[in-house]
Symmetry: C2
Subunit: 342 residues, 2 copies
């Protein structure tokens, strides 16, 4: 079932030409553009073979061929050449991702950068097995409390609680220890439930202040759950989106938390996971390819950065960009802390 050199060359040329042009690729184009030293008739025979084996598809009988999911898969696994990032992109990455701020901010930065370089929407999924490490409550003015949540993986989340009555320092201390006792070790995704328990247990002792704090935390956490989608508009440039229905369906899909969640959460933890077209379990994603990168720091899994594009996406560029980002995150490449170009 393995392909001879000529067939490999043909397959890879079809994939690359189609990625570039978005038009079905014919035998004549291949001969002329990719300097295959065979006649178009020979190429046609091979293309027919590749179609019979499921690597290529034909939209209709008088059109050229386009890669099938199996074709893209074979290309990605066996034929694709590693591609170096352009100096331009490297500079852009290094000057934009500055390492400031907490993990969330960095995630956002990365998503923006990737989206810009690849002209594609990106989605961040955070590790939701992370657990609460400790909680601090700081009084910043008479009726403003700042609550800081620190997670085991070292991410920091904070929120502000307005309290109607002034709170004494002693009360804050007491409340802080109650919060820590009850919540330390709680997985972030179970925090909401755990907070309800805290309220029930200790509400009366603190005449509503605890409730105000807990509500602020709850609200902050619910904000967290919203996914960040940057660059959705970029994908419209692809000819796949010339049809308004496609656009609507895509927009609805990408803004439907559940679909994205289930797709990304199910994906196994790999450094880099590539799911092409119909390999996606979620039917609505069958025309798209999702490439996800696990983001780690100090061997702790922080979350996932995913790129969603048409099957006909530039695999080589996408993968090399994500790999570069990954290396940067995991310390193989030093994070710039100043804008020193290149």
């Amino acid at each position: 079932m393995s392909l001879d050199e000529r067939k490999k060359k043909i397959l890879s040329s079809v994939v690359e030409d189609y990625i570039e042009s978005a038009e079905p690729v014919g035998s004549k184009t291949l001969v002329e553009k990719y300097h295959l030293d065979y006649s178009s008739a020979t190429i046609r025979n091979d293309m027919k073979y590749l179609e019979e084996e499921g690597y290529l598809e034909q939209p209709h009988v008088s059109a050229g061929r386009i890669p099938s999911t199996k074709g893209y898969r074979y290309y990605v696994d066996n034929l694709m050449k590693e591609r170096k990032l352009s100096m331009l992109d490297i500079d852009y990455i290094n000057n934009t991702i500055n390492g400031f701020g907490d993990v969330d901010s960095i995630f956002e930065q990365v998503a923006d950068v990737v989206s810009k370089i690849l002209s594609t929407p990106t989605v961040i999924t955070k590790n939701n097995t992370d657990t609460i490490d400790s909680i601090k409550v700081v009084k910043i003015s008479e009726n403003l409390l700042l609550i800081v949540l620190m997670s085991k993986n070292g991410t920091v989340k904070d929120c502000i609680a307005k309290v109607t009555n002034t709170v004494e320092d002693k009360v804050i201390e007491k409340m802080t220890s109650i919060l820590n006792e009850n919540l330390s070790g709680t997985p972030l995704k179970e925090l909401h439930l755990a907070l309800n328990t805290v309220i029930k247990k200790d509400l009366e002792a603190f005449s509503g202040i605890m409730e105000e704090i807990v509500n602020s935390i709850k609200y902050e956490m619910s904000k967290e759950m919203k996914k960040l989608n940057s660059g959705v508009e970029k994908i419209l440039e692809n000819p796949e989106f010339s049809d308004i229905e496609t656009v609507k369906n895509f927009m609805n899909m990408i803004t439907t938390k559940e679909i994205i969640d289930s797709t990304l959460e199910k994906s196994k933890h790999n450094k880099l996971s590539i799911v092409i077209g119909s390999e996606n379990k979620e039917v609505l994603l069958n025309d798209y390819t999702v490439i996800s990168l696990d983001i780690e720091k100090d061997n702790k899994y922080l979350g996932k950065l995913s790129v969603i594009g048409p099957k006909r996406m530039n695999y080589a560029k996408t993968i090399s960009t994500l790999k570069y980002i990954s290396d940067k995150f995991n310390g193989n490449i030093k994070l710039n802390r100043k804008n020193k170009g290149g």
Copy 2:
């Protein structure tokens, strides 16, 4: 130049029918649907007059009429009937906007709610004449500092600075007072510049810690500048967006900070500002209507909530929704702090 009753009725019917159907409205439709006790010929004469006076337009000679910008304007100013919000919408608003969190969170909530009720994109513009009131620095762990910025208008912004070396409490105290001395009273939009000055003046005294803090603040503020657009995908349901080019142009416009900024900032402060079609100075917005609501609290201007939709938007519903929200904000309607329905 004023219109008689019949002409007013015709104009208002054309506007309302077109808002509903998105199809040019003909004389026959008007007679049948709006029970005008005149023949279609009479209506036609009036419509011709309304067109000559610039209230209506005709896409082509054998089509019905659609309202011009002037027509919409006359409708909004003179003909439109106040519309009560449905109980459903009122409930939804009251149950969703809970008043938790800082001003920014509330802004976000409001934008989401409005976007959902009106099926339209919303944009938040924050008051950038607000100034720094005071700054607090809190040590939350060995190498994490939390910086809290409080503004004159009472908004609170915070960010986390990672510091490479541990900092003594005394140093924190000293730095805090330096920051307050230098920055108190600084307009938020000039903060970036002011921070540079602080760095230059006091960098050496604190071996880089101050730089780390300042960079974190800078980054947090740059995040702030990003506008929130919620519900962009909703607008696609309008027939105006059946053409992919329109969609692209709209998406590019709405994600281009500069356009939105200049449009909204220039708009005078009114409780409610309505800019229809070609009344917009920005050419790219000439097919859209922008309705902005100033958000105040305790008589302080906090920012603007704007709704962007096709000229053919539901003015009555949009305006009554925004007015309801405005009243809620300014205290005329009590904020719910619990989900008690209705």
